[in-house]
Symmetry: C2
Subunit: 341 residues, 2 copies
């Protein structure tokens, strides 16, 4: 059986309290006693039991994370940032997958509360009202990544999706494109998608280009989806000269449909993506994209959680709807070019 603080106390001939003191560096302990304790700790290979510690201290240095799916490079990038920041601040991570299911989200959220974690970061594609209301009533700090919905009362971190979409649309227009398609996520109340659409719309409007409804396609962030959607367009022979996909995997799906039918990118059609996951640079032609600072976004979320605790010895939590916007950038690679004559 593992040694407890009592064993250390016995071996060192001191009291539990003193042992506790040296462990926590609190209060003053004589050098002599300190040494005795340290020796005993080493001899017994004693490690304080975190469970007991958390119980009595009413706190925890663990941050909970809810993610739709693992092995997704977009979330993976954010996770990297979260992990690094947690590492630096001495926090641990408890990770749960929701599968995009709101009942799972709620279940995990409750679990996090029961365990009194120091905070939660949630990533989700769609946000159901049940989840929103659960989030709003959370007793521990919670932050939403890359998404914001009306009624949601918690801090958020993301990029300026309106501007990003606006910029990349303008980029294509400057390249001479007038026939621009938009492949976006399904029509839900997805704030990112809504903002992106506005940016797209605005850029077109400012240039006197009207939106062709047949070129605005909805689908999940899956390559098979955009592959099929692009195929439809090809079959109808109703082709744009450029397509904007609001995720990189969708962009790749579009490219594959095009390549598999013998089209050339970007000579025949330009394709641009969103996010800039590793795939975007690895694919050939490499993808022109809007780059999101995924790692920074994750790190920022952690910082926010930590700061939501500080300043209040009372244990009270700062709960406002603060939003952090990080800056994006446009990376031009091989998949986009001038509009064909």
């Amino acid at each position: 059986m593992k040694a407890t603080i009592k064993d250390v106390a016995d071996l060192s001939g001191l009291s539990i309290a003193t042992v506790s003191r040296v462990i926590n560096g609190a209060s003053v302990v004589s050098e002599k006693s300190k040494k005795k304790v340290l020796d005993a700790i080493k001899a017994l290979d004693f490690k304080p039991n975190q469970v007991a510690r958390n119980l009595v201290m009413h706190k925890n240095t663990t941050i909970g994370i809810i993610i739709p799916a693992m092995g997704n490079q977009f979330y993976g990038g954010i996770l990297n940032g979260i992990e690094e920041a947690c590492e630096n601040h001495g926090y641990d991570i408890m990770l749960c997958r929701s599968g995009g299911d709101s009942s799972n989200e709620i279940r995990h959220l409750e679990m996090f509360e029961e365990r009194k974690l120091s905070g939660v970061i949630v990533m989700a594609q769609r946000l159901k009202p049940e989840t929103v209301s659960k989030i709003n009533s959370m007793e521990i700090p919670i932050i939403m990544m890359n998404r914001s919905t009306s009624g949601l009362k918690c801090p958020t971190v993301s990029i300026d999706n309106f501007r990003a979409a606006y910029e990349i649309t303008n980029y294509l227009i400057r390249k001479g494109h007038k026939k621009i398609a938009l492949f976006r996520n399904s029509m839900d109340i997805d704030a990112c998608g809504v903002e992106q659409y506005s940016g797209f719309e605005r850029a077109l409007a400012e240039n006197g280009i009207s939106i062709e409804r047949g070129w605005v396609k909805y689908g999940e962030f899956k390559p098979e989806n955009s592959y099929a959607l692009m195929n439809e367009l090809i079959e109808k022979n109703h082709l744009p000269t450029a397509v904007i996909a609001t995720s990189d995997v969708m962009a790749v799906g579009v490219c594959n449909a095009l390549i598999d039918r013998g089209f050339r990118i970007p000579e025949d059609i330009s394709v641009v993506g969103f996010n800039d996951i590793q795939l975007a640079g690895l694919y050939r032609p490499s993808l022109t994209v809007i780059h999101q600072p995924l790692k920074s976004m994750g790190g920022e979320a952690v910082n926010m959680i930590i700061s939501m605790h500080k300043g209040d010895g009372s244990g009270e939590i700062i709960k406002d709807g603060r939003t952090v916007i990080l800056s994006h950038s446009l990376i031009e690679r091989q998949s986009s070019g001038n509009a064909p004559e």
Copy 2:
């Protein structure tokens, strides 16, 4: 403040013990009392405190995971399997990133022990002696994914890397290839790599083909690496007709180097990968690969951890060197073809 079991006891007019009983469904409680308790629980929105629970029960339904990096599709695939299995069995996940650093691995391993997690699954590329010895001395169940090293005394789950490499090498030989390159991970004591190399060697030997040392390249599992290595070969104009990469990202790096220099795949050179992450099917040309059942591997690891606990009311843990081998398969796609004349 959140309600405790005592609040429920007070409100329901019963004792803490009785409340505990209905919560745990243990022992028999009269219907009448049961209802009272349930009502009180609902009224107070009481949720049992897991921290306290774990403390007294000396256990935990959390599984710790150590992973080199997040956002890697290979580990992501395994994580998906782990997550699903944990979900089914009511376990939670605590995830830590090692960054491939053995001191981090050890730190996390100790943290898992302190928290008395029910088990640990570790993924690592290289295994330093310090980590191996820490693993061997762990007091909680621990499983190594996809890797085994001499001296390591813990269960392992992986595929038969020898056979996999043997099969894919033979596949290329049957396609008429005699000049076959192998891009593998750095020369460390990496059991997978060693086994794979043996398989490669054996297949060539059985077909009377001798190994050309200049075609066996070592590098990390990064596309930039294999890209550079392939470029070297191109510059020396010392080209094989096929290359086997022991990871998909390495294969893509090779393909990119080739494509960027104007080579055709597979007409000029065939390229095959290992693992079959999403990228393999998404890339063009899509990659012929050895498919690893990543998800099953993750699930199997969880099952093993759970079974290591069962059967022993004593709390003793089964600790043998059991190895689980799951079956792989060869998926033929676009990146491989007959050897050029």
